[in-house]
C-alpha cells in the first residue's frame, strides 16, 4: 500500500499589495511532498472561495480539500479529524496570515500523539522511517530519523524551486468537506500598528550625578591589544584566544 501523505496549507498574503496568494513556506512543502512517492492530499481549513487557494493547484497540486471554517473555529480539531489515517503530515513552518505563531504543526502532532520534526530542509522515506535533514543556524545541519506516522514542518530555506503553471490552475479542483464545528475564543486583541515596539528595560532610578556620568564619560570597550613579541608568538596568542573560548578544535 502506498504512503498516504497530507500537506496542510494556509493562505498567504502578498506583503505589498495584501492580495491573497499561496503561502511561500507551504509552497516549499508542496514541492517536497510532490517529490515523495505516495498518495498526496492537500488540506486547508478556512474559507472555501479564497482566491489564494487556487495558487496551490498552479504549483502542482491536483486536488485541494478544504474544511470550511471561520476565523474563530477550532481548526486544530477539524484538521486532526481529517488526518487520523495519514502516514506523513507535512506543512510549512509558519503562516503568512492569521496568528502566524508557527504553533499549528505542534498542536496537530500533540492532538494526534505523533512525533514532530520542525525546520526540515529535505526528507527521504526509508521503509517505515523518514530521515529528515534539519536546518540549524550557523551553517549546521542535523540528520534525524523518525518512525512513521509523523509530522514534519518544512523550513523556508528548503532548497526547492517551485514552478507556477496557469494550465494546472485551471485543471485542478478544490473540494469542500464537512465544516468545522468547534469554536474557540481568541485571547488576542488586534489593532493597527501605530508605533515602533518599545524595548522592555529596567526602570533605573539614578541620581543626577550618575546620569551626568553616563552622559559625559564613555566606557572604553576595546579589548586586549598585543604589540610586543614575534609574529610566531602573536599567532600563538590568536590560537590561545580561540582555544580559551572554545572556538576552534586545533
Amino acid at each position: 500500500m502506498s504512503l498516504r501523505i497530507s500537506l496542510l496549507v494556509s493562505v498567504g498574503r502578498n506583503p505589498v499589495s495584501g492580495t491573497p496568494r499561496a503561502c511561500r513556506n507551504d509552497v516549499a512543502a508542496l514541492e517536497i511532498a510532490r517529490s515523495l512517492a505516495g498518495e498526496l492530499t492537500l488540506l486547508h481549513a478556512g474559507e472555501v472561495g479564497n482566491p489564494g487557494l487556487a495558487d496551490y493547484l498552479a504549483y502542482g497540486a491536483d486536488r485541494l480539500e478544504v474544511v470550511p471554517a471561520s476565523p474563530d473555529s477550532d481548526i486544530v480539531a477539524a484538521l486532526a479529524d481529517q488526518l487520523g489515517n495519514t502516514d506523513l503530515i507535512l506543512c510549512g513552518s509558519r503562516a503568512e496570515d492569521g496568528e502566524e505563531s508557527g504553533m499549528l504543526p505542534y498542536l496537530v502532532a500533540q492532538r494526534l500523539k505523533r512525533p514532530i520534526i520542525g525546520q526540515a530542509l529535505s526528507l527521504t522515506i526509508i521503509g517505515d522511517h523518514v530521515e529528515v535533514t534539519q536546518f540549524l543556524p550557523k551553517g549546521a545541519r542535523r540528520l534525524v530519523r523518525v518512525a512513521l506516522p509523523a509530522v514534519v514542518a518544512i523550513h523556508p530555506r528548503a532548497p526547492v524551486r517551485p514552478r507556477y503553471a496557469f494550465a494546472r490552475k485551471r485543471a485542478g479542483t478544490i473540494v469542500a468537506l464537512a465544516p468545522a464545528t468547534g469554536s474557540q475564543a481568541s485571547p488576542w486583541h488586534i489593532e493597527p500598528v501605530t508605533r515602533a515596539p518599545i524595548k522592555f528595560k529596567a526602570h533605573k532610578k539614578e541620581a543626577g550625578h550618575s546620569r551626568m556620568q553616563s552622559a559625559i564619560a564613555s566606557v572604553s570597550k576595546g579589548g586586549e591589544v598585543l604589540t610586543e613579541g614575534s609574529a610566531a608568538e602573536k599567532a600563538q596568542a590568536i590560537l590561545a584566544y580561540l582555544r580559551r573560548h572554545r572556538l576552534t578544535d586545533h
Binding site: P15, G18, E96, D97, S101, G102, M103, L107, P115, I116, G118, Q119, F135, L136, P137, K138, G139, A140, R141, R142, L143, V144, R145, V146, H155, W188, H189, I190, P192, V193, I198, K199, F200, A202, A207, G208, H209, R211, Q213, A217, V219, S220, K221, G222, G223, E224, V225, L226, T227, A231, A232, K234, A235, A237, I238, Y241, L242, H245, L247, H250
Partner: protein
C-alpha cells in the same frame, strides 16, 4: 545687623578626574569621601541583589547554551524573566548544555544545568516538566529561535496551551506580536508560556541575581521516537556569509591572497572582505562586508589588515568575538576587537597557517 551665614562646602566631596583637571560636578550626589576617577566601576560593582526575602513563587527561563556560553538572545530572555519578576519571585534558569557563564548579572537566582549535547526533544520536554513540577513557575520564557528554544517552547506550549509565540513587545502586563508583515499588532494579557523574539529586551539590569546552582531530579531517559543521527556542517565555501559562524576577512593590509585563502581553508572559515579589497578586484562583490555589503553575525570574525571604518563596523555589529590583525594600533577596529594583534598581516598569517597545518614543525623551529 547679622552677617549672612557662610555657605559650607565639603572640599572632599565626590569628584572625577578629567583631562581638564579635577571636576566637582556632583549633581544630586550625597555623602562624603572622594572618588577620584573611579566613579563608574565603583557603581558597577555595587549593584544590589534583587531578591531580599525568601521567594514564594518563581519564573522560569529556559535556554540552550552554545560552547559553554549563552548567546545574546538567550541572555535577553533571562533578563526578561528578571524584569518580569515581582519582589517575591525567584528567577530560575534551566540551561540545556554545559554552562561556564555567570548568570548573576542577568538576574538569575537559581540555575539548573542539564549538561546534554545530543538532541532528544522528548527527554528535554520531560526535563522541562520535571522542572515545572519542582519550581511551579508563573511564566515560562523561551527564546524564539529556529532551533532549540523555539522548538522546545512550542512542544511545551502544545501540551500546556496558553502561549504566545514571536512576542515582539513585552511589558509587565501584556505581550504583543506582529501580524501581516508588521501591519497589525495583536495584544493579550501575559500567557503562561512566552516565546520571545530577539532584541525586545535590554539585558542591562540595575540589580544582580543570586545565581545559586540548583539541582533537578532528572527524569529517566525514555525511548524517544526521534533518533538523532548527528550533525553535519555545510562547507564554509558553500555557505552564504550571513549564515557563516567563522569568517576570515581581508582588507587593504592583505597582500598575500593565496596565504589568506589557505588560512581560511585551514580554519574552515568563510571568506569576507572590506570595501577596499573588493574595489581592488581581489574579491568578488558578494564577499563585501559592511554598510554597502553584507551584515554578518558570526561567532568569530577575524579582520586581517582592516582598519575598521564605521561602515565596516556596522556590518559586524552582531559578531561575538572579533580578532583584528593590523599594523596600526590606533585604528578604529582596535576599539571594537576583543583581541588586537599589532603586526604585519603577512607574517602573522604565515605563522598561523604553519601552526594550523603542521604544529610540530613550528615548535621545533622555535626550540632550535
Amino acid at each position: 545687623m547679622q552677617d549672612a551665614p557662610i555657605p559650607r562646602r565639603n572640599p572632599r566631596r565626590p569628584a572625577v578626574l578629567t583631562a581638564a583637571g579635577l571636576k566637582r560636578i556632583t549633581l544630586g550626589e550625597q555623602g562624603e569621601g572622594s572618588v577620584f576617577g573611579a566613579a563608574l566601576p565603583a557603581e558597577a560593582a555595587a549593584k544590589p541583589i534583587r531578591l531580599t526575602t525568601e521567594p514564594s513563587s518563581a519564573l522560569l527561563a529556559v535556554v540552550h547554551a552554545d560552547r559553554g556560553a549563552l548567546d545574546g538572545h538567550a541572555r535577553q530572555v533571562v533578563a526578561a524573566a528578571a524584569l518580569l519578576a515581582e519582589p517575591s519571585d525567584a528567577v530560575v534558569v534551566l540551561v540545556f548544555g554545559a554552562l561556564s557563564d555567570d548568570l548573576a548579572p542577568l538576574g538569575a537566582d537559581r540555575v539548573i544545568v542539564s549538561p546534554d549535547e545530543a538532541w532528544r526533544p522528548d527527554y528535554e520536554v520531560a526535563c522541562l516538566r520535571a522542572a515545572i513540577d519542582q519550581v511551579q513557575p508563573r511564566h515560562i520564557l523561551f527564546p524564539d529561535t529556529e532551533a532549540g528554544g523555539g522548538d522546545l517552547g512550542r512542544r511545551l506550549a502544545a501540551i500546556e496551551g496558553d502561549a504566545a509565540a514571536h512576542v515582539a513587545e513585552l511589558d509587565r502586563s501584556c505581550a504583543t506580536t506582529r501580524r501581516r508583515g508588521g501591519r497589525l499588532a495583536a495584544r493579550r494579557a501575559l500567557p503562561k508560556i512566552l516565546l520571545l523574539d530577539p532584541d525586545i529586551v535590554d539585558p542591562d539590569l540595575p540589580f544582580l541575581g543570586r545565581a545559586e546552582t540548583a539541582s533537578l531530579a532528572l527524569p529517566v531517559e525514555g525511548s524517544g521516537k526521534l533518533c538523532d543521527l548527528g550533525r553535519q556542517s555545510v562547507p564554509a565555501a558553500d555557505l552564504p556569509l550571513e549564515e557563516a559562524d567563522f569568517i576570515l576577512s581581508a582588507g587593504n593590509g592583505v597582500a598575500d591572497i593565496p596565504t589568506f585563502l589557505s588560512l581560511a581553508d585551514a580554519f574552515g572559515a568563510a571568506v569576507g572582505a572590506s570595501r577596499v579589497a573588493v574595489d581592488d578586484g581581489k574579491f568578488p562583490r558578494a564577499k563585501q562586508i559592511g554598510a554597502t555589503g553584507k551584515t554578518v553575525s558570526a561567532s568569530v570574525y577575524m579582520a586581517i589588515g582592516i582598519s575598521g571604518a564605521i561602515q565596516h563596523l556596522q556590518g559586524i555589529k552582531a559578531c561575538r568575538h572579533v580578532i583584528a590583525i593590523n599594523s596600526d594600533a590606533s585604528a578604529p577596529i582596535a576599539k571594537r576587537a576583543d583581541l588586537t594583534i599589532v603586526a604585519d598581516a603577512q607574517d602573522v598569517m604565515r605563522h598561523l597557517l604553519r601552526e594550523m597545518t603542521d604544529p610540530g614543525r613550528n615548535d621545533m623551529e622555535e626550540g632550535s
